[in-house]
């Protein structure tokens, strides 16, 4: 093959893939545009401030306070990530460093299965099994705690699997060197494996935080859906996503527009989260 022909193939490849990447990146822009367009009537007419200062959320009676639901979303999401991350990391470590090979394979298969269970199944189980348990601790049962636990179970598998893949990608030479130095497992993990796998792990955690932010069905079933800022983990809460799912089919006009505003708020939250992650790692996450 002549040199110019080779380079021509490569150029074509890069150009095509650039186009592909642009399409992939354009999806979120299209979604943002769509949300903005549908929210516009409410934003233009009522302004952003009222969504934070109105007395309550009664959209059919012209009250549009989003704040309690925003708190519900934030508490549920970050609580879930707080619970799921150590468990997921430990699971990955367990798989790679502690479990005998057959057990590790089975365990990994188990986690892959957990990742694919529909949110309705989690929600249903939560409603029928978890909520009564919580009720025995403190009524009424449907609560922030239920939401945090269910979300944690939902988010955990992907954190574990991406951490597992990241740990697997650590060069063997590192581990061989550590073994040669006679280091303990804990030292190897803390000093060698985790720093090397940190980028991959962080990636997984961020992806899953955003996933927890966007979960709809399961939280709808277990959180109680009461529009009130939670003062304890046993209080019922409503997340922004559950709110959209509950009311969208029955909303018209301003109500519908207000729901899209809450969708836009969620998107803004995600964008803020992603930007923060990017700033913290200063590009090192993908570097």
């Amino acid at each position: 093959m002549s040199r110019s022909a080779e380079r021509w193939t490569d150029v074509l490849l890069v150009r095509t893939l650039r186009g592909v990447a642009v399409v992939a990146a354009a999806v979120v822009v299209a979604i943002a545009f769509f949300l903005a367009r549908e929210s516009w009537p409410m934003l233009a007419e009522v302004g952003v401030g009222r969504f934070f200062t109105d007395a309550s959320w009664h959209p059919t009676e012209d009250e549009f306070l989003l704040l309690p639901m925003l708190w519900g979303t934030l508490w549920a999401t970050f609580g879930a990530v707080l619970v799921a991350t150590p468990l997921g990391l430990l699971s990955a470590v367990f798989c790679r460093f502690y479990a005998p090979l057959a057990m590790a394979r089975t365990y990994r298969r188990l986690i892959e299965l957990l990742a694919g269970i529909p949110s309705v199944v989690y929600g249903f189980w939560g409603l029928v099994v978890l909520v009564p348990w919580i009720r025995r601790l403190e009524p009424p049962g449907p609560s922030l705690l239920a939401g945090v636990l269910i979300l944690a179970i939902m988010v955990l598998p992907t954190v574990a699997l991406t951490a597992d893949a990241a740990i697997a990608a650590v060069p063997r030479s590192y581990l061989q060197a550590a073994a040669a130095l006679g280091l303990s497992r804990w030292t190897v993990l803390r000093g060698v494996v985790l720093p090397a796998a940190r980028d991959g792990i962080l990636t997984g955690v961020i992806l899953q935080t955003t996933r927890a932010l966007g979960e709809t069905m399961a939280v709808l079933m277990v959180c109680g859906n009461l529009v009130r800022t939670p003062s304890s983990v046993f209080d019922p809460v409503r997340t922004l996503t559950a709110n959209i799912a509950l009311e969208m089919g029955y909303a018209v006009g301003d109500h519908r527009s207000a729901l899209f505003v809450s969708g836009l708020t969620l998107l803004a939250l995600v964008a803020a989260l992603v930007a923060a992650a990017e700033w913290v790692s200063r590009g090192r996450v993908h570097g």
Binding site: S56, H58, P59, T60, E61, E63, L127, V128, V131, P132, R135, P139, P140, G141, P142, L220, M221, G224, N225, L226, V227, P236, R238, A245, L246, E247, M248, G249, Y250, A251, V252, H255
Partner: protein, 273 residues
């Protein structure tokens, strides 16, 4: 690469397969998730009697159904309520009746609640079962008030009957669909909620631990609903933009005919005469 065969197969399927939108007629019905299972079954039976016709039933909520009919996105809309003010330009055809009753856990000894007591419970004035003669023995217990999400037809019928506004309600838990209310009450012996009579009756008969409470002294059952004595009722309606004609007319007539009364009863609604 390895995905190329996949892609080709799907392309072929997309354009090679007969598209039923061209042959025969297709009716699109959207709206209430309460009516959707019923209309889906009615639609299937309609299709079996008229080969070549397809009835696609989609769900999404009563308001969505009405909006789709207005906007021409659906041929027929489904609503689990009567038409409201501002919707007089549309045509409504009831196909079944549904009642709404309050219910509690079977272990809760309360037998009946007056309208005032219900209002007291739902506005937060009565917070304890002991004040209304309930509770699970021993000291009273805090009432878990289960309410439906705003905008739902069930909620509106409930509020209208008891003369409440949405903002008056002090709920503990808010639910979406009927079954969620049932499961919430089953999980909590101190809960009270309201739901479609048919749903509640069926669940109770299958051993689900709930008890239906009478309303205004009338027992909550399909019989009382059918003979008109049960006070809290709502029609399940089909909605069209213009006066229905052709296939749409046939479908609506079919849905109201005795030929589908068994389907209506199977889903625990009451057929209209």
């Amino acid at each position: 690469m390895m995905t190329r065969p996949w892609f080709l197969v799907l392309l072929l399927m997309a354009w090679g397969c007969p598209d039923s939108r061209g042959t025969g007629e297709r009716l699109v019905v959207t709206g209430s998730s309460t009516v959707a299972p019923l209309m889906a079954e009615i639609g299937k039976r309609f299709e079996s009697e008229r080969p070549g016709v397809r009835v696609d039933v989609q769900t999404g909520g009563s308001s969505r159904g009405i909006a789709d009919v207005r906007g021409g996105l659906a041929d027929v809309g489904m609503a689990s309520r009567a038409l409201k003010a501002g919707e007089e330009d549309l045509h409504a055809f009831p196909i079944a009746r549904d009642g709404i009753c309050l219910f509690v856990h079977r272990d809760n000894p309360v037998g009946e609640l007056t309208d005032d007591q219900v209002v007291a419970i739902y506005t937060g004035r009565a917070r304890d079962w002991s004040t209304v003669g309930g509770g699970t023995g021993g000291a009273g217990a805090a009432i878990t008030v289960v309410n439906k999400a705003e905008g739902r037809a069930t909620l509106e019928v409930f509020l209208a009957h008891f003369g409440l506004a949405s903002r008056d309600v002090r709920a503990t838990v808010v639910v979406g669909d009927n079954e969620q209310a049932v499961k919430t009450v089953v999980a909590d012996p101190h809960a009270i909620g309201y739901v479609s009579i048919g749903t509640a009756e069926h669940s109770a008969s299958r051993g689900v631990p709930i008890r239906l409470l009478p309303a205004g002294g009338v027992e909550a059952s399909s019989e009382r609903l059918a003979d008109g004595s049960f006070p809290i009722a709502r029609p399940l309606t089909l909605v069209t933009r213009e006066e229905p004609a052709g296939l749409v007319r046939e479908l609506i007539d079919y849905a109201r005919s005795p030929a589908v009364h068994d389907l209506v009863r199977e889903l625990f609604f009451v057929p209209v005469r």
